[in-house]
Symmetry: C2
Subunit: 572 residues, 2 copies
């Protein structure tokens, strides 16, 4: 259980500050991340790694010579926002292009992907490197669906060494993608972790049992077994990895035995004693193994085994020296101490004033977002609880944070004279930047698309509002790739939009149409508990998510009801 | 809770093997410990560190260039035996003398002290360095009574760097003792750890509370407080240390923020963020801080703060490069890989045959020890439970291990034709070597002294047996320094000896006298629950140990009863 924090929502940001202060000789803090205190040469390919906080040494502990150039830290177990990633990448960029490395989770895929697009639009060649090592999360023939776990360490280490060696962007990406394809992991969990400020753990494992293949945020595993002696556990961890040994591979492997937080060093050494024999029996030759904590999950009890099947290049880059706060290898001269970089001021977009009618509608929009934010703050714990049944339990936090930021951005826009469209668009940007995670990115594009449909000229009509809802749905489907029935917020949004369009086209007033749409949306959200998941936030088919309502659908329907209840009488 | 193990009693030994296998490029395994794979120069002062297992990176993770030359690993939370320490020291010795570094716990003091004596008797200059940094465990004017906690890191690091720099034994000891006097720590606990194979934790902290000053094995703290925000916790950790700042000190400090196992990195970084401000406010200048896990306590939740008030020498040695599996600093060339040293065969003492009468008595002694060993095996869990109320919960394990080894050694001695005295002496050696810990060392010297009183010539008389008991008591008092009323096994042994001597002098048969003595011993053991502890296994006065029976006294009285019940009818 996480015990040391101030306000839970400040945990990740304060930890980042403390990390940078403790390692001031090696890293320099930038907004939402850290870069090397001694940057690489001009023109060097930059490796930026990141993801949610709560996994240290991943990702901040990897920043250093021969490893990552920079890391971006999201909130606990939540993807950093597109803006955060983009900002750290700009601070780290040395002119040779940027590789954005992250574990393959939906929120990270969305936000790192958007950041790469934004960088490319600015003329910086940016590539994405999604680590997909967890064999429990999808079959071998669906490699791209696999989650990233402790394979982050060898894949990023190898990519970082290739970049340090002076390879160009294409060449580093070739090595990095080969390292990812050659890397497989399997993990077990004995007990769950508890997010800062939460009273109960994200998930639990029955006493005397071990969860096989559970993800590092409690994502569904493949089975539960009775707890076993270390010798048997070693075999259990290794077998699924041996099954993925490439044909005609010569047996050279990097091996990482990773503790998730509460499974301690001596336990890992006991396991390693057994693994050395089993690895030898399997004809594998272990090159510079690592036994310790490399990708944790707060104080989760459990461990994972990772193997990278090496070739000549991969072996060379795995063995290469590195010097990061949490990972050292070989001999590297310590970097010179340099001055802290000044924090970059967040860029503030200039707001063009709307027409008086649109300004009035903008005030109404801002008030409605304020209602939504207050309702989501009240519902934070309940939404977290629903999410924890099949997900990582951070949905309530993300929605509360995002909507609060959206309300603040909307108020600022109103004060600056913005019309309804700009108010809603900027609310969306605020939401995405502060919420992080998958839902943050989706709500961000949705509100922005809706705002663009409203515009800043005319008083929005009921039909314009419905068209905006349609645009929001399309933006979400385009970015997230989910369809109705995939057990996501689309399941609640699609019927909402359908009813809203139908009723406003038929001439109903907005208030009437909206209320009817909210009722249909709520029924659809409730029904997600009966759905067989097909996408399930990019997670594999898994029994645990069956029968649980989708938190994203539940919160969307809730927002629809709150807006419906607060629409002014004179609404269009 | 420790989840990964095979047979609990093999945990520490298997972990040692796994550690050495995972770090084969840096360390070489020797029986019960590890030495540097690339030993220091001939004539270099050797720093050997050690103590119970369960504290990794302490102590094995410290073995490397610029730090320790060797480490010896006891069983979990139990001092290594004198023989183990002696063996590792002999393997590591380079001709320049040996410093034996350990945390200040009674069992370690006894066993490292005895090992140093044994080394000196063999012509190797050996010194002891007991780390005494825990300010919660005794007042500043009783510094020598303080426990050693995470101060191990800076004290051993500085001593190791001084030895690496080529100082001679006296000079290294001068620096090391100055480092120890300059080092203070204060820790807090949120929750207890669970020993391998145990069902319940060694101790617990009430939910929503934090134990102030609790030791790393659950030794009594000074108070319990409601859990507090990180900013307040930082102040709470720092204040007791600031109170010990030496007069006219210039403010240069090494600072270590140490996690005990389950309190994870990001929590420590949050704390560190607050500490940096507080340290600066206090006028301290932090030199190369360390934030992480350096002295753990299995999966205990909690953390400690350590400050070393530096002078020029201490700063130089604190900053010096080091390269150990769990601690690196600066730039050190990696050591060359060398061959594994062969395991040293344990020396076997030659046994001189006893007279036929004494051989017969020896068989009886061996049988009685066998009964004791079986009874202690049965009572292992119960004794652990009693010990955990005020101690570290390992008493049952230690007694079971020690008596089993004693019974085995006694049987071997009988087979080799030993007389009663040699059977009992070798049983004592076996007990001490295998049990480790305080009680192991005390039982070892007691049985050896008793055996010497019996001799190998004559059939022992009732009075000779009583004299042996008297000699055993004296040996224990001399080695352990405890008096009646200090709440140790002496409380049960002294009345036993008194009654046994009195009744055998009055002409009672041994069986009658022994039974009466055992009754008195049992009453005395039960009464330890009412005693105010004065020594309490070298722990400070502490409320938690009041009202709990002393496990050492309980087990001694139990042994007395078992022997009494099994004395043959024809006993002298």
């Amino acid at each position: 259980m996480t015990k040391v924090f101030d306000r839970p929502e400040q945990f990740a940001e304060t930890a980042l500050k403390g990390f940078c202060a403790a390692n001031a000789d090696r890293v320099t803090m930038v907004p939402h991340g850290a870069v090397r205190a001694a940057p690489g040469a001009r023109g060097k390919v930059v490796l930026l790694v990141g993801g949610g906080s709560g996994h240290y040494p991943a990702f901040l502990g990897y920043v250093g010579t021969g490893f990552a150039d920079a890391a971006v830290a999201g909130d606990v177990f939540a993807s950093p926002s597109t803006a955060w990633i983009h900002g750290v990448a700009k601070a780290a960029h040395r002119g040779g292009g940027v590789i954005l490395g992250f574990g393959n989770y939906a929120g990270d895929v969305l936000n790192f992907g958007s950041a790469a697009e934004r960088l490319r639009a600015e003329g910086i060649d940016a590539r994405i490197l999604a680590v997909t090592d967890d064999v429990a999360s999808a079959r071998a023939d669906e490699r791209a669906k696999r989650r990233g776990v402790a394979g982050d360490l060898p894949v990023f280490k190898i990519a970082g060494a290739a970049a340090e060696a002076g390879l160009d962007l294409d060449a580093v990406m070739t090595v990095a993608e080969r390292a990812n394809r050659a890397t497989v992991s399997f993990g077990v969990a004995f007990d769950g972790c508890t997010l800062p400020g939460q009273r109960s753990p994200l998930f639990t494992v029955d006493a005397g049992h071990v969860g096989m293949g559970l993800g590092i945020h409690g994502e569904p595993g493949i089975s539960t077994q009775a707890i076993m002696p270390a010798a048997d556990l070693a075999r259990t961890l290794l077998e699924p990895l041996l099954a993925e040994r490439p044909a005609d591979h010569d047996g050279r492997v990097a091996v990482i035995l990773n503790g998730l937080g509460r499974t301690k060093y001596e336990e890992l050494f006991v396991l390693w004693h057994h693994l050395t024999d089993l690895l030898e029996e399997a004809g594998l030759r272990v090159i510079e193994p690592e036994v310790g904590e490399f990708v944790t999950s707060l104080d989760m009890a459990g461990c994972s085994l990772t193997i990278t099947f090496l070739d000549d290049d991969l072996e060379e880059y795995w063995r290469a020296p590195a010097d990061a706060p949490a990972f050292r290898k070989g001999s590297v001269a310590p970097p010179p101490l340099i001055e802290m970089m000044e924090e970059q001021a967040d860029a503030v977009a200039e707001i063009v004033a709307g027409t008086p009618e649109s300004q009035e509608a903008g005030r109404c929009v801002a008030q409605l977002i304020g209602h939504v934010a207050r309702a989501l703050a009240d519902a934070e714990e309940e939404l977290g609880r629903i999410d924890a049944q099949a997900g990582d339990g951070d949905h309530g936090q993300g929605m509360a944070r995002g909507s609060a930021a959206a309300a603040e951005a909307a108020e600022k826009a109103v004060t600056a004279g913005a019309g309804a469209g700009t108010v809603l668009s900027l609310a969306g940007d605020g939401w995405a930047d502060r919420a992080g995670g998958t839902s943050g990115a989706l709500w961000g594009v949705a509100l922005r698309a809706w705002g663009q449909a409203l515009g800043d000229e005319r008083k929005p009509s009921a039909e314009t509002v419905a068209q905006g809802a349609q645009a929001a749905l399309e933006a979400i489907v385009q970015l997230g790739g989910a369809k109705v029935g995939d057990k996501t917020l689309v399941d609640a949004l699609a019927p909402f939009v359908e009813v809203l369009v139908e009723r406003t086209s038929a001439g109903d007033a907005l208030g009437v149409a909206w209320s009817a749409a909210a009722v249909r949306s709520t029924a659809a959200a409730d029904a997600t508990a009966q759905l067989t998941p097909r996408l399930g936030r990019a997670r594999p088919l898994a029994e645990r998510s069956l029968g649980h309502p989708d938190a994203g659908a539940v919160s969307l329907a809730m927002c629809a009801r709150v807006v419906g209840a607060n629409l002014p009488e004179n609404a269009v």
